[in-house]
């Protein structure tokens, strides 16, 4: 486990232009610049408004069901025979994943800005469902862009979104996954910028999105910190989360950034293995570049063309990553690694059969890392894993791999 090499007391990112060190920023066509400026100003005003946060907290408590439990996975810990493993149960949130923390917050922003139309991109469908949910609650029109490959492998979530009144728009350009859905959502926003609020689902995109999504998701880490202190009398030693765009990871990590004793591990999608090229692990294998409005680590070829990605989990199947993760990697404040599809699938089955909790395939990547590392650590070592979502949506995918028709 890497030690923290630099003091982080002065960590205060991003700067006023949305830069996390050399990462982040605003890289979009001129049509979206004034809209981002408007959003930035509105959020800056609301950020210091206690009433805004009171409403956010109220919704999280009464609508989402927060705080989510921190669960000591005793049997898992015993079987692994090393570190004590605690699960932050974001899977128990309304709609079944951490995504709703962010959509609640951004829906309040959309309402405050007087927007009547919501758009969102989605990979696994969790963010799409969470967006459709808040739109239904506020009576707003909602359009969710989703790659046709993801529509195929996440059909249950597609139906949920439709039931919630959202229009699911299939995107069949490029690799037909999350990246292409985001392209299409950006095009829609440029066209309908007057009445439309774009709820980005992760800590990527142009400033201020990486910052505001982080702020909304930080409730995960704030709760986990308090709960861990209460349950164990001290801070955890290691935080673990899966990283696609990286919103559940930043949500867990951010409130601990200044706690230098706490190590942070982000687990990317290793797909068929990093050496096969068929994966979605930009922090492990990529280099800095510009995509979807921000500078960050990317998977691209020698000519700067974005590469097709592969992951068993639609929610991690993305060639970029939130810019704050890029900075945390460079600062060595967080460590980024990967596990393969097969390892994630094994962890999926392990947690299901040993703890009676069916995790999302995304979250199973974080669990797979724990299965590898926990046995090497002593029982004094406390690991907090973000169980970012539940796996009901993945029954189809897992059954298909097992050769079973559901």
């Amino acid at each position: 486990m890497s030690k923290v090499e630099q003091p982080q007391e002065d960590y205060n990112e991003p700067d006023e232009h949305g830069h996390f060190g050399q990462y982040g920023g605003i890289f979009v066509g001129e049509t979206l610049m004034p809209a981002l400026e408007e959003l930035n100003q509105k959020y800056a005003a609301l950020k210091s408004d206690p009433d805004f946060w009171a409403e956010f907290d109220y919704d999280l408590k009464h609508y989402v069901g927060r705080p989510s439990p921190l669960y000591y996975a005793e049997r898992m810990s015993e079987i692994l025979g090393g570190a004590r493993v605690y699960l932050k149960r974001e899977d128990l949130n309304h709609t079944g994943a951490h995504k709703v923390n962010n959509t609640i917050g951004q829906a309040l922003l959309a309402k405050a800005m007087g927007k009547t139309r919501i758009i969102a991109e989605t990979g696994a469908g969790q963010h799409g469902v969470a967006s459709a949910t808040v739109a239904a609650r506020l009576g707003l029109e909602c359009h969710v862009y989703m790659g046709t490959e993801d529509i195929r492998r996440q059909s249950a979530n597609v139906y949920r979104m439709k039931m919630l009144g959202a229009n699911v728009v299939g995107v069949d350009s490029g690799s037909c996954t999350l990246k292409d859905a985001m392209n299409e959502a950006l095009r829609d926003w440029a066209t309908n910028v007057d009445n439309t609020y774009y709820i980005i689902g992760t800590v990527a995109g142009p400033h201020p999105y990486p910052m505001l999504v982080r702020d909304f998701q930080s409730v995960i880490g704030r709760e986990a910190r308090e709960q861990c202190l209460e349950m164990t009398g001290r801070l955890p030693d290691t935080l673990v989360a899966c990283v696609g765009g990286g919103s559940n990871a930043i949500g867990l990590f951010y409130p601990f950034i200044q706690d230098q004793s706490v190590a942070m591990v982000g687990v990317e999608a290793g797909g068929f293995g990093l050496d096969t090229g068929k994966h979605a692990a930009p922090l492990c294998t990529g280099q800095p570049g510009v995509l979807h409005g921000n500078r960050t680590y990317l998977m691209n070829d020698e000519n700067g063309q974005i590469l097709d990605t592969h992951s068993i989990s639609a929610g991690l199947d993305y060639p970029g990553v939130g810019p704050e993760h890029s900075l945390l990697k460079d600062l060595k404040r967080a460590t980024y690694t990967s596990v393969t599809d097969a390892e994630a699938l094994e962890a999926f089955k392990f947690l299901t059969s040993k703890e009676g909790i069916i995790p999302a395939l995304e979250s199973s990547h974080a669990l797979a890392w724990v299965m590898q590392e926990a046995p090497k650590l002593s029982e004094d070592h406390i690991i907090v894993v973000n169980l970012s979502g539940r796996g009901d949506k993945d029954m189809h995918t897992v059954a298909e791999i097992e050769g079973i028709t559901v």
């Binding site: 001129e30 610049m33 440029a190 309908n192 500078r295």
Partner: protein, 280 residues
């Protein structure tokens, strides 16, 4: 004086407006792109905007997206687009060429190498769609040491104050995105273009080109009456989409496929001619 400035000066003397076709380089392949460039000049193009492809063109509509996919399918890269400009310059030393595209291929090449290559092959201007002036400092400081022009976009929702700041960063010409949305959309409103151009004229003395949504000779003429340049992309690329990647074309056989440019040229010039007659 840069080729772009020289071009606009000459047009001004002649009382004509610039016609600027946009091509996605490598669609259907770079050999045909080179012949298309010569054919466009022969049929009335004053400046050529040459798009270098990027996998994720978020400011473009479906027509240019598909052109980019065709270009990438035959491995078109920023490097071989630059090489195509070298070949164009072997026969044409007058027509300005503006490279247009997204930032990541440029980041990947490196700013200094990119600018050096542009100068070396005879590119006159660069327009990076997803790089607003706020993020362009590093690239611009390199460009500013050369004769290369750097063009930025202004849009209908760009405020007066912001337009002033953007125009102060521009050399060559101002590119006005005439509508909210992506390239190839069909909701161009001439009156709104007119009032916005009047607004931006107070921010700059540079020529202003109008693009996005200009698809027929009549609209081109209407825009030419109020702007300094007409940019046409998707409508032309719709014609180029008919070309076959495996058929060799030369500039003569391509004439029929770019008739739209000739018609736009005629329509733009006729309108100006009739204005002159009325004034007399």
């Amino acid at each position: 004086m840069s080729r772009i400035a020289q071009c606009f000066k000459q047009l001004h003397v002649e009382g004509r407006k610039a016609l600027i076709p946009f091509l996605t380089a490598g669609d259907p392949n770079l050999e045909t792109t080179l012949e298309l460039m010569h054919a466009l000049v022969a049929n009335g193009a004053d400046i050529i905007e040459l798009g270098f492809p990027f996998t994720d063109p978020t400011s473009d509509g479906p027509v240019i997206q598909r052109a980019v996919e065709r270009a990438l399918a035959n491995n078109t890269s920023l490097k071989n687009v630059l090489a195509t400009v070298t070949r164009f310059r072997q026969e044409n030393n007058d027509t300005p060429v503006v490279l247009m595209g997204y930032l990541n291929p440029v980041e990947c090449m490196g700013y200094q190498e990119f600018v050096n290559a542009c100068i070396e092959v005879g590119v006159d201007g660069v327009l990076i769609v997803d790089m607003p002036p706020e993020e362009s400092h590093d690239l611009k400081s390199i460009v500013d040491q050369t004769a290369l022009d750097m063009i930025f976009l202004v849009a209908p929702i760009t405020s007066d104050e912001r337009a002033k700041q953007i125009c102060a960063q521009i050399s060559g010409y101002v590119y006005y995105v005439s509508l909210k949305g992506v390239t190839g959309a069909g909701n161009l409103d001439i009156e709104s273009v007119k009032s916005n151009l009047a607004r931006f004229r107070s921010s700059t003395d540079l020529p202003i080109g109008v693009g996005f949504g200009i698809s027929d000779p009549q609209t081109a003429a209407q825009i030419a009456a109020i702007a300094d340049a007409v940019v046409v992309g998707s409508a032309l690329i719709n014609k180029i989409a008919e070309l076959d990647a495996n058929t060799p074309y030369d500039r003569n056989t391509l004439q029929v496929h770019i008739a739209l440019i000739r018609e736009m040229r005629e329509s733009m010039d006729e309108l100006l001619l009739s204005d002159e007659l009325q004034e007399q």
